[in-house]
Symmetry: C2
Subunit: 342 residues, 2 copies
Amino acid sequence: MQRSVKMKDVARAAGVSVMTVSRAFKKDGSVRPETRDAILKVAEELGYVFDSTAANLRSQRTDFIAVTIPSINNANFADTVAGLSDVVSGEGLQVLLAYTNYDMEQEERAIEQLLRRRPEAIVVTGGKHTPRARRLLESAGIPVVEAWDLPPDPVDNVVGFSNAATMETMVTHLVAQGHTRIAFIGGDADADTRGADRRHGFSGAMSAHGLTCDRLIEAGPPPISMREGASAMARLLELHPDTEAVVCVSDLSAFGALTECQRRGLRVPEDMVITGFGAYEIASVCVPTLTTVNPFPQKIGEETARLILQALQKPARHQVRQIAPELVVGGSSERHVERVSG
Amino acid sequence: MQRSVKMKDVARAAGVSVMTVSRAFKKDGSVRPETRDAILKVAEELGYVFDSTAANLRSQRTDFIAVTIPSINNANFADTVAGLSDVVSGEGLQVLLAYTNYDMEQEERAIEQLLRRRPEAIVVTGGKHTPRARRLLESAGIPVVEAWDLPPDPVDNVVGFSNAATMETMVTHLVAQGHTRIAFIGGDADADTRGADRRHGFSGAMSAHGLTCDRLIEAGPPPISMREGASAMARLLELHPDTEAVVCVSDLSAFGALTECQRRGLRVPEDMVITGFGAYEIASVCVPTLTTVNPFPQKIGEETARLILQALQKPARHQVRQIAPELVVGGSSERHVERVSG
DNA sequence: TTGAAAGCGCTAACAC
DNA sequence: GTGTTAGCGCTTTCAA
């Protein structure tokens, strides 16, 4: 337990100045290769571990990219973080992650915590924030990206898509199949703003098709789990037994709804059509496969990363990059879809 | 975009010294309440954001807890991180996360990166590391926790359980049901050391019961997805059509295997018994529900957090805290299990 | 309860 | 390619 070996100690042991040691630890430091090798060897022997905290302060660089996501336990957001992380780590940048539990107050606190660490850029999920959070982002003096949404009045940059529009696509798909009695299962209120946008998109699309939109099942505070999807389906069948199709706010609730149908002996899609959102792995594996929307979460992360790397290179503001989601038609809404074999 | 407002600026505007501003930003700083309020108000007006990087260097505290997990996209590890994060955040500590892609070399790099940030403690998943990673951990001079496993020769503290033992429990359960032709689906090689431990535990238990253990399906490099579970099931049915039961390395592969049975019209559990691991949500929702093992991932995280908080209070080493996993019997291995309604 | 001086461990800037 | 000097923005320490 050789604590607190410092650059000075390495320098002394290697017979060079601290500055040369410092350079030896940079990729592009102009040091003679043999000198560098000798220094790194000595450092390793002494058990020296470079101290970023000092470097951070002096160089005014932390190489952190701050990110807030609603939940760490969601494959979609995890994919976005993975995509982002993989791209920025190539440039020596590290993701500093915080989660908000779908709560704007918690988001505000997370943003402040993160900004105190002096990240090079900050990524937030969605476009709705408390006034103070928005102020913090606006005056952060670093690139800001709002992801997973298309806010009407962005703080700075945006990488996302219209959640509402995806539901219009979905309703149109169902109407084309001849369905009219279509329900929606989602979370209540607007804690999950993307979920709320999808609900609004659904309502709007129903109206546009001249259909009544009175089969909205609120399954509780977001995120809606598989289990909540199942009980929402049970409630729907009780309240509106003649429902033909149900649009779920995510694949997880859609899968839950599907299992509830299985338990009741309802055939999907013959007796009930079900759709989800997110293109989670389960959607392409369950029987029948789920009709869903792929928002390309990893691509969102990668594109966010590229935007940030560019913005750090030469400052640019208010860029908007749309990632076009894709309707994935599965067996849960179509009788003649090929079955995906494992 | 009011960049670089410093404590000095706040001090001047508030008519106090920097030190008083510093104290106002600490919880326990001895400052007159009115003075503090005035300072915080001025700070907010100036758009001042506290600079941790300077505080970190001077106080030699970062309030980071470093954590490495194999994958960010795994609900079990996500639960552990959430449990850990929730407990430590109450003490003003923040999780600094890195992932290793089930790769020891990548783990070594992640550990070095993390240690450079001077965390207060470090948590790694599992007990197998490269020699250099082990040396880094041993000489880090901070509490180290190996989680999710019971390494034979721990670096320092341990919070985990025996993966092998859970498989013995599972095999015993299946043998009690009268099954003898039992297969195993898992990843190949030992990249996922916990998965490998489960495979070894399975083999050992089969031998102990006097059963032959020649139905091992290797589904590729870990982690094994639902889809890979499905194709592994297909392969199993081809190679060993008379198999009665299959133990899968995780619920995800188990669910994939279940869907493959469904596609082939095989009834579960009548024609094929399936078990998983992890107690992922899907295990308790799918039809039939999956027999699985709950390792209580969140509890592992919470217990790890408590151990760390204690160790930071008063140094202690080589503590081992076992979290007892629990067999969860579902409909996939028992005909008379109550069906869980959504 | 408040302030002044010193310095955490590195690197920017400049000299050679 | 290498060394010297100064200092990043806070907090420790000591004094009042």
